[in-house]
């Protein structure tokens, strides 16, 4: 299991051929209280960098881009009733969608833990 990051503050936690995508602890802090999450539909095919979801906070609405290419396999429907999960637990209970990777080599272009920590210092 490995976690990679984008410069747009999404994370992807990869297990086998599936990745779990959400926004980072840093991103949720910057956004403030999340009030709404627009989820992608299961089965949606996306290219790396496509708009996958929208997160709306009291301050702003922000697009969430897919860190890799692939197909959405699962979405976190708990966020419909409880969008605050993204604030409380962004890396675990506040995940947004799961994606079946079509081009796993794209992960090499993303940031590792140390590089992302450097970015948000």
């Amino acid at each position: 299991m490995t976690t990679k990051y984008t410069t747009d503050h999404e994370y992807i936690r990869v297990e086998g051929a599936t990745g779990t995508v959400g926004i980072t602890l840093y991103a949720q802090e910057q956004l403030g209280d999340i009030v709404f999450v627009e989820l992608p539909s299961v089965g949606k095919v996306m290219k790396k960098g496509d708009e996958a979801a929208v997160v709306e906070s009291v301050k702003a609405a922000s697009e969430i881009y897919s860190p890799v290419s692939g197909t959405v396999t699962e979405i976190n429907t708990a966020l419909n009733g409880e969008p605050g999960l993204v604030n409380q637990d962004p890396h675990d209970g506040g995940w947004i969608f799961k994606i079946q990777l079509s081009t796993p080599t794209e992960l090499d272009g993303l940031l590792g833990e140390a590089d992302y920590a450097e970015l948000t210092k």
């Binding site: 209280d33 009030v35 709404f36 709306e56 009291v58 301050k59 702003a60 969008p83 605050g84």
Partner: protein, 515 residues
Amino acid sequence: MSMNTQGRPTGTGNVTSSPANGAALLPNEPLLFEIGDTEHSGVDLPDVSIKRDRLGGFSRTLPLDLAGLTEPEAMRHYVRLSRLNYSIDSGMYPLGSCTMKHNPRLNEKMARLPGFADIHPLQPVSTVQGALALMDQLAHWLMTLTNTAAVALSPKAGAHGELLGMMAIKAAQTARGEGHRKVVLVPESAHGTNPATAAFLGYSVKAIPARADGTVDVTAVREALSPDVAAIMLTNPNTCGLFEPQVIEIAEAVHDAGAFFYCDGANFNAIMGVVRPGDLGIDAMHINLHKTFSTPHGGGGPGAGPVVLSAALAPFAPVPFVQRTESGLELVEHSEGEALGRITAFQGQMGMYVRALTYMLSHGSDGLAQAAKDAVLNANYVKARLQTVFSVPFPDQPCMHEALFDDSFLNQTGVSTLDFAKALIDKGFHPMTMYFPLVVHGAMLVEPTESESKQTLDQFCDVMLELASDAIAGNMQNFLSAPVNAPRRRMDETRAARSPILKWEREEVVSEAAQ
């Protein structure tokens, strides 16, 4: 007992006397439904003798479910509510990019003249020649002030005007066989409605980053231009309160690439009578009459956002428009050729036209230029007085009609831009625009307009500086608890957005639903 058509007895019912605790001057105002009940009618209507249904079976059978109050009760409710509000008539309203200028009472007097106020849009044109002459004159001066070839008066708001301007651009390109142009360039310092308008018309939006000095770089525009680009939407002066120094080069680059130049005219007050946007190369620009030309901002309406168009776009102007003929003025209501059809029912907001033209004529061309210069002077005065303490993100050039600050002066104080704005309410001022534009962190955007005297500007600056030193001195709690001197305390914005209550429900319905 008299019954009204809803079968309700006339009477007062259980009317709660409203200003609780003797708070006659700062009422804790209940809802209409909480004042009156729905079982009575406050108005004594004669009983209906005709029993025959003349509505073809469509007459209402369910109870009306509106609170039955007498006219004074209803009137008092709304007047009391209005006293909880803050307006340009009760104090300075430094809301950036909104141009909250004074609404002269002369405008109101003119708008109430029966020849303007009491006419109907379907009246024969021969009986409304005065109103048409007023529209014709307003159109003439809007075109003169902007040096453009055509104007559409009818859009009902700035964003509506923006939509029309971009529709005209789309129509012009379709007519040229260039419907493949699908990209609209929008600088980061543009108004938020610009990308929304482009997206609404099916364009994809490409952002142009701002330079370190807050303006748009013509090189960045040139790099972004391609045969797919339909237009650029540029706000000038931009939302950082800065005049775009390369606007003419940008216009030339855009035109050389076969694209159009939409200018967001929301900030026209800074240059009215001084710069003609047509001379800068714009193709379309909306003008918010409620900003630049002093018509009321109203509770969401009525607004008016006329759009001026360049010669290239003039053939696509929508109907209706006023045309001079030998027999008088005519209203052209049917489009011919490539022109867009109607974008509103009827002719637009007549009352706003009267107010805007009154403002123009009472100022004259010298007066309008003076107003713009005073608006710029006032903003620079505020900037100059505050910049000793407040952080100015783009200090190198004078600002136009609005002064932009960021929140770096609040670093380590525990006070955010939001807290600062709430504290300003306690000091008797409407907050400035917050967190916009997005190009700086924790933005505070102050637009004093030309309406304010030096005394009022000084009061405002004194309060701003006092609050800033309070925050820097570490009195965070004063800010977190603000506002305390307002009819309502700090709102829970998160809860309001997460579980909004959008409809009033009778208490028993709410408690039944809970069970």
